[in-house]
Symmetry: C2
Subunit: 387 residues, 2 copies
């Protein structure tokens, strides 16, 4: 009998949880490497191992019991990813691709080589370096930690005279932007690439709080740009390309993530194949699914823990208020500011769909949601990542 | 902190597997009582207990660790269901409702009291009883075991002179039928009822092999009939009402099931709220979700194990052949005739959608699928249930 492959994911956050949900349909059960038994995916998966994603022995032990290993986050040390490959493990995305999602300097340098659009940037080691850069682009500038940043962490806006943070950094121009966009594509090792429609993302304090799919009047070259990155960087699995749309309409790559991504949660109901199922197919080198939308608009609002972060007590009220709202609760211990779930509304009228998603989020978080279009801040926003 | 409720399901077949998948979105993890570690849901759920659904101690031990208990099948002895309630467990559907899905004599008598349409029938204990009934309705007649039948088991077509099977039976007229239909409704204890559109079901050897949602020209009274049964029998959770549409267009209730049902698998992608999520909401007495369709047509083909029942080796070919096909593999040990999965195609043109579902099933099962409309057989078909 042909046994289905054992797919393992390092990390057991909500991305692993939703990947497990999708894998079940394909006859699989995702094996996760969890840090603790309260991890979002550890609560629902049958095959849970406990270990530290920074420990090579833990990673090796886990990988040896998997046919393919993939990731819920970018925090596995690059040398460990490479060591797994050296030991014969199948790791997707592989270390040569993954480094561009782990190391902003490597990413910027590679995109420059490829002549792909991105903010003006420079590697810096001193305030003087930053000041020289700012003399060309103007203050303030954006300083980013080369490694380890996520959800607004590792990103600083520097004005003239501000101190440089004591970590390895790059500096980027502060992009005057019309809005932020994201393109998700999936690519399998044998080469097939499929992209979902471009989405608009709305960030607050560096965390994605809302996605609108598709983005209205999406620039025609955004999908080609994302596909090019997937191919040139030899990405396998889902690649999220976060983009700035400049005031003049030009695009600039903000961040890359090589895994299912917050900006793709709408695909669970809003696309024929979700980003989670597609990631499974892609890393197993199975044929990719149709990424076409299933509705005219899908708006996802993320549920960030508010002053009373306990969603469970408000779930019934949210279901009652909008029977067609799609609710996803991650089962995580509630804490203010933590990503605890998301809701997706679908329909033909964008204003209505957006307002339903926001209303659902307001009920579930117990926090008022913005009812106005947020104004472009002109400030680049860091990539989001599961908390 | 408000803890989410612990929902337990007795039985760990594919219905439990897909219920777990749906429960995850609501922040839950389905606890299942499995017979063995190879059970479909036991392969993917985090909280698996092992026990015998016919053992009262096993059931009590399981139920004591759940807030609400529901069922993957109808095979728990009725006296055990009642004993759980007597011990203070919350069981949904409750024993007073569930007996009508477990005992065909009780079901027929109750529907007769309610004056709801059903085939002519009689309780019989001898061949002479059957012969007297057949003198009124004509031979052959349909004999059904009062308890324990499923998937064509426990149903016999009797011609004059045939022996009566040695179990407690009822006899029913052989309905001349145009087609078979099914209506799924969900009902919560506090009374809310929601119905999905009527579907047409196609049976082969007593097993549902295909559902077409919605049924074309569905009779207007079918949904009301199913809702009436849900209310009058005090059903909680999902109720499947399998119907004959007679040659003259009249309806007759064939079977009842009080759980997610094969005829509702299309709702996973084809309705805003799937039968699995709705069952969870209903038995927890949470507000029900919108049951509106998401596509013009959804056709589901069941994957019955063929001569070479191993689906896993053909999965990649099926995904490749139709990237928009939705594939569900249950992870069960492959055996000829066993329900191993299902596929759903969605779209605007019924002929195309149906042919895609059948083509996908043909690739996955390795068996040719019917390309013509099956002709009505004039023979009633027994209810289907997970094998």
């Amino acid at each position: 009998m042909v046994q289905p492959p054992v797919l393992g994911m390092v990390g057991a956050g909500q991305l692993a949880r939703m990947t497990h949900q999708a894998a079940i349909s394909l006859g699989l059960s995702l094996r996760v490497l969890a840090a603790s038994d309260g991890d979002s995916a550890a609560l629902v998966a049958a095959e849970v191992e406990f270990g530290d994603h920074r420990s090579l022995p833990d990673l090796v032990g886990f990988a040896e019991r998997c046919d393919v290993v993939t990731f819920d986050h970018e925090h596995v040390p690059p040398e460990h990813v490479r060591a797994l490959v050296d030991k014969g493990c199948t790791v997707r995305p592989g270390p040569d691709a993954l480094r561009y999602a782990q190391d902003k300097l490597a990413m910027r340098a590679r995109l420059a080589e490829l002549r792909l659009p991105q903010p003006a940037w420079r590697s810096v080691t001193s305030y003087d370096d930053v000041a020289r850069f700012a003399a060309e682009t103007g203050w303030p500038v954006v300083v980013k930690a080369v490694r380890g940043g996520y959800d607004g962490k590792g990103v600083w806006f520097l004005a003239a005279g501000d101190r440089l943070p004591p970590v390895e950094c790059i500096v980027e121009e502060r992009v005057r932007l019309r809005r932020e966009l994201a393109v998700l594509v999936a690519r399998r090792p044998s080469g097939e690439v499929r992209a979902w429609p471009v989405v608009e993302t709305v960030q607050r304090s560096g965390i994605c709080v809302e996605t609108v799919a598709p983005a209205t009047d999406a620039p025609a070259d955004a999908v080609v740009l994302a596909e090019t990155i997937a191919v040139e960087l030899d990405v396998t699995g889902v690649l999220a390309v976060e983009l700035f749309e400049r005031d003049d309409g030009g695009l600039a790559v903000n961040e890359l993530a090589m895994r299912p991504h917050n900006s793709g949660h709408w695909t669970i109901e809003g696309a024929r194949t979700s980003q989670f199922e597609q990631h499974v197919r892609a890393v197993l080198d199975w044929p990719l699914g149709d990424a076409a939308p299933t509705a005219t608009y899908a708006v996802t609002a993320n549920l960030l823990g508010g002053a009373d972060p306990n969603l469970a007590g408000r779930l019934s009220a949210a279901l009652d208020a909008d029977p067609a709202l799609r609710v996803h609760v991650y089962g995580k211990e509630p804490r203010p500011g933590r990503k605890l779930g998301h809701v997706t509304a679908l329909g033909d009228d964008l204003v209505t769909v957006r307002s339903r998603a926001r209303a659902g989020a307001a009920v579930l978080t117990g926090e008022p949601q913005p009812t106005e279009e947020p104004q472009p801040t002109g400030e680049p926003q860091p990539t989001e990542e599961p908390a």
